[in-house]
């Protein structure tokens, strides 16, 4: 049905034209879900945009043909191409929060789209819209259709988006990361919906995603892309199960498995400069260990634990009515848990579960309403009552989620890294500080000359290494990692996870590892806590929880997360 041949897209820039994708060949049949998978920068979204004719300016198609049935899409004029959009090809975007016009009711948007392509009365269009919403799983559609987008929840909104893409019976739908912004439970419903639409209505889908689990779950065929080129293409089971190409194999091995624990990821690409600077990392390693003149083994005894008792955090709601006081939003409802010294504790939950609130409360950004925190044997003062000079500010360090915002882009790496050294008074001599910072960079697998550069000169993974180095230069005993890899590609994720594991065992750090990703937590954590709407659903040893989940919620989470068949890769 859709045949893309030798597609090449270029973008003119001030360095001359850059090629975004080159020689892409893709074939999609009616009723087929064709997965397009790759890491960031692979050019997978560009393929989708080129097919529907919505390349970001100033990008242009340099070569190749795109045929939809007998229609040559490249030969169409501007108006013909626009008339074809919605009618024969449609698209689903990533974020349902932003892809609906906030000022128009769902009905207006649906009816408008139908009338744009079909000759029928507004009433007929409305009837069709209501039927469609029912089919897609929106209950009481005749009523709900009159609502504005902000009156729907995230998952329901993505259904409305799908209804909009579907309302004119297109042959092909391009779904660009359709579930990335959604929680696991909603994701699985949306994926089921897409699968059933392909089966029942014989719509072809191009499913663009970075998530190999999603592909494994619903795609019939898959094309793996890297740096604008097709690496491998074919039946999903064949490509992912018995990959021919080295890159695909490496990619598959970087995906954390959920059904068993592995010691270490075999890293596909070495992005850092590992190996070249092992010797220079010694200084930083010595420095981290010398605190009390202990050897590596004894260092573990210094490990410090954290226990949290009946921690309760409430936010006052935004006031909407003159007469009613807003109800408090309960972010954490009297939760208690205990992180053992020298262990990694996983904290798992969906968005809004309160897991980041836990991190912010421990670091003192949020003042809890009640509850106590103990760091080792000392009470950890909460929120504003923690003085700026309190020792815990050094002992507890944090690695953040977004490496693009966690490093001050106007400061050089050198000054970012030496800041904890002078701020905590750990090293008086400026020259020594520079030396230590350079050595620490080597320890986390970076070239020490990074010290004179700015953050924007590094990739996401490299920045996350720098962020880890900054945390270590405070000589922490307790590390909080808040979704440290969720902004990174899988191969980079594997590297960072390896790095964290190594550092943890070498220096006896205690880590609180926060993540929404169950398979990552299984690989990292000794113990874990499952959080939902501010309440702990289940806690225990990680292996026990995965093998014998007790709480209904945990079972549901485990069953809904896309997994790959055991015999693959």
């Amino acid at each position: 049905m859709l045949t893309v041949e030798n597609l090449t897209v270029r973008f003119p820039t001030r360095f001359g034209d850059t090629t975004a994708i080159e020689n892409i060949n893709i074939n999609v049949q009616a009723g087929e879900i064709h997965g397009l998978v790759g890491e960031s920068g692979a050019g997978k979204s560009t393929v989708g945009a080129a097919v529907i004719g919505l390349l970001q300016t100033p990008g242009y198609i340099a070569e190749g043909s795109i045929m939809l049935g007998d229609t040559d899409l490249r030969a169409l004029g501007v108006n013909q191409a626009h008339a074809l959009r919605g009618k024969r090809i449609s698209m689903i975007f990533q974020d349902p929060q932003t892809s609906l016009n906030p000022l128009m009711t769902v009905e207006d948007q649906l009816v408008e789209t139908i009338l744009a392509h079909e000759k029928m009365s507004a009433d007929e269009a409305r009837t069709r819209a209501i039927d469609l919403l029912e089919e897609i799983g929106i209950k009481n559609a005749a009523e709900r259709i009159k609502s504005w987008p902000h009156q729907f929840s995230g998952g329901m909104r993505q259904r409305v988006v799908i209804a909009l893409a579907l309302c004119t019976n297109p042959e092909l739908i391009i779904a660009d990361e359709p579930t990335t912004a959604l929680d696991v439970a909603v994701q699985s419903q949306v994926l089921d919906l897409i699968r059933s639409l392909a089966d029942k209505r014989k719509i072809g889908f191009i499913l663009i995603t970075h998530d190999i689990g999603v592909i494994a779950q619903i795609a019939d065929r898959v094309t793996v892309m890297r740096n604008g080129h097709v690496v491998e293409s074919g039946e999903t089971a064949q490509v992912l199960g018995r990959p021919k190409h080295a890159y695909t194999r490496a990619l598959m091995s970087a995906v954390p498995p959920m059904d068993h624990k592995i010691d270490r990821f075999s890293v596909p690409t070495t992005e850092g400069i590992e190996g070249t600077s092992v010797s220079t990392g010694d200084l930083a390693e010595q420095w981290l260990l010398e605190e009390k003149g202990l050897s590596e083994g004894e260092q573990k005894e210094l490990s410090i634990g954290l226990s949290i008792e009946a921690l309760d955090v409430r936010f006052s709601g935004t006031r909407k009515s003159l007469w009613r006081k807003p109800e408090d939003f309960i972010a954490l409802d009297k939760i208690s848990f205990n992180v053992k010294p020298g262990s990694i504790m996983g904290l798992v939950g969906e968005s809004g579960s309160g897991k980041s609130t836990v991190a912010k409360t421990i670091t003192g950004l949020i003042t809890p309403n009640s509850g106590t925190m103990m760091l080792g044997n000392e009470v950890l003062p909460a929120g504003k009552s923690r003085s700026r000079k309190h020792p815990s500010r050094r002992i507890i360090q944090m690695v953040f989620q977004d490496p693009y915002s966690s490093l001050n882009s106007r400061h050089k790496i050198g000054s970012i890294l030496t800041e904890p050294l002078w701020f905590y008074g750990l090293e008086k001599d400026p020259a020594k500080r520079q030396e230590l910072a350079a050595s620490m960079l080597a320890l986390v697998g970076m070239a020490p000359d990074a010290i004179d550069k700015y953050p924007h000169q590094f990739s996401g993974g490299q920045r996350q290494r720098i962020a880890v180095a900054r945390a270590l230069l405070a000589r922490p005993r307790f590390l909080i990692c808040d979704e440290p890899t969720s902004a990174l590609d899988v191969s980079i994720q594997a590297e960072i996870l390896n790095l964290l594991k190594d550092l943890q065992s070498k220096f006896g750090l205690t880590i609180l590892f926060i993540s929404h990703n169950l398979s990552v937590v299984r690989q990292m954590a000794d113990d874990m806590v499952v959080l939902r709407n501010g309440v702990i659903e289940e806690a225990g040893k990680t292996e026990d929880l995965f093998e014998r989940p007790q709480a209904e919620y945990t079972k549901k989470l485990l069953s809904l997360t896309p997994v790959m068949p055991k015999d693959w890769a």
Binding site: R14, T363, K389, H390, I396, Q401, S406, R410, E419, F423
Partner: protein, 301 residues
């Protein structure tokens, strides 16, 4: 060189937009001319002894009767127009730049603090900004000027004209900076590098000025440019209304007001040459401001 230019997006775009380059050249020339007016100008228009009524009302050189000593002609007092304009631009720029500097320091300081502390402090600053907004720039400047007339003894008034005018303009411009700085600070506050600094226990001054400020300079730079243009216009307007500077120390606005008297008689140059000069200056600054906005906000290209 070429490689160096390509590396910076701003520089690269600059070399590709002739209008912006011309504007930059004009602005720089005027700045230099104004800064070195005492050395460049042939006469000092403030010094009554340096020019003579005999030379009064001479037209520019390309018009009949013009002489090469006064390329752009003279006014009714016999002052060389070029010299008057250079000295006028000097005063206009001095007032504009100082007003902008004061407004920047005041506005950015308050805006940063409001964004950083949030809550009640922020609410108070923003309510004050609301009041300031309800009393627009010209009104504020006029009002301060009026108050100064009421409070200050007449003999001091003349000496303090420039100071009062500068303060009046500065006070009417700070809200722009405060609102921009606050909005940008709010965005930065949610970024993790600021949270990291707070968690470390760094002090508010260090976080605001060492961490946040360098990251919000872009939009502030745009406002500084645009507000420099506003300040120059505001000064001209106030002087034109006869409330700004007196005729013996003419700024560009005063020159235009004086020139108005000659609109209907034949001496067009006394009105239109200073006007053209003022507009050229402000257009150049605004062009540069627009260019910077485009660089910092690529969506508008």
């Amino acid at each position: 060189m070429k490689e160096f230019i390509k590396r910076s997006e701003g520089l690269w775009l600059f070399t590709r937009s002739p209008a912006v380059m011309i504007a930059a050249v004009i602005a720089i020339l005027i700045f230099i001319g104004a800064a070195f007016a005492p050395w460049i100008a042939s006469v000092n228009p403030y010094d009554l002894g340096s020019f003579s009524l005999m030379d009064g009302l001479l037209p520019p050189i390309w018009q009949e009767g013009g002489i090469s000593q006064f390329m752009l002609g003279t006014d009714d007092q016999g002052r060389d127009m070029i010299s008057s304009i250079l000295y006028g631009a000097r005063l206009s720029l001095l007032i504009g730049l100082s007003a902008m500097a004061i407004a920047t320091v005041l506005g950015v300081g308050l805006g940063l603090a409001a964004g950083f502390y949030g809550g009640r402090f922020d609410a108070i600053i923003m309510r004050i900004a609301d009041i300031q907004l309800a009393l627009p720039a010209i009104l504020t400047a006029l009002l301060i000027d009026g108050i100064a007339r009421g409070i200050l003894p007449p003999e001091v008034q003349q000496d303090l004209r420039v100071v009062v005018l500068t303060l009046a303009i500065a006070l009417s411009l700070w809200v722009n900076f405060a609102r921009t700085a606050r909005a940008s600070t709010f965005v930065e506050m949610n970024k993790e590098y600021v949270q990291a600094a707070i968690i470390m226990g760094q002090g508010p001054i260090r976080i605001m000025f060492i961490h946040i400020l360098p990251n919000i300079l872009g939009p502030l730079l745009v406002i500084m440019t645009v507000d420099l243009a506003s300040a120059i216009l505001l000064e001209a307007t106030l002087s034109f209304l006869g409330i700004g500077l007196a005729a013996d120390s003419p700024s560009l606005g005063t020159l235009i007001r004086i020139g108005m008297q000659f609109m209907l008689s034949g001496e067009w140059w006394i009105l239109w040459i200073p006007t053209l000069f003022l507009v050229a200056l402000v257009v150049s600054i605004n062009t540069l401001g627009d260019f910077m906005r485009d660089v910092f906000n690529p969506g508008l290209r």
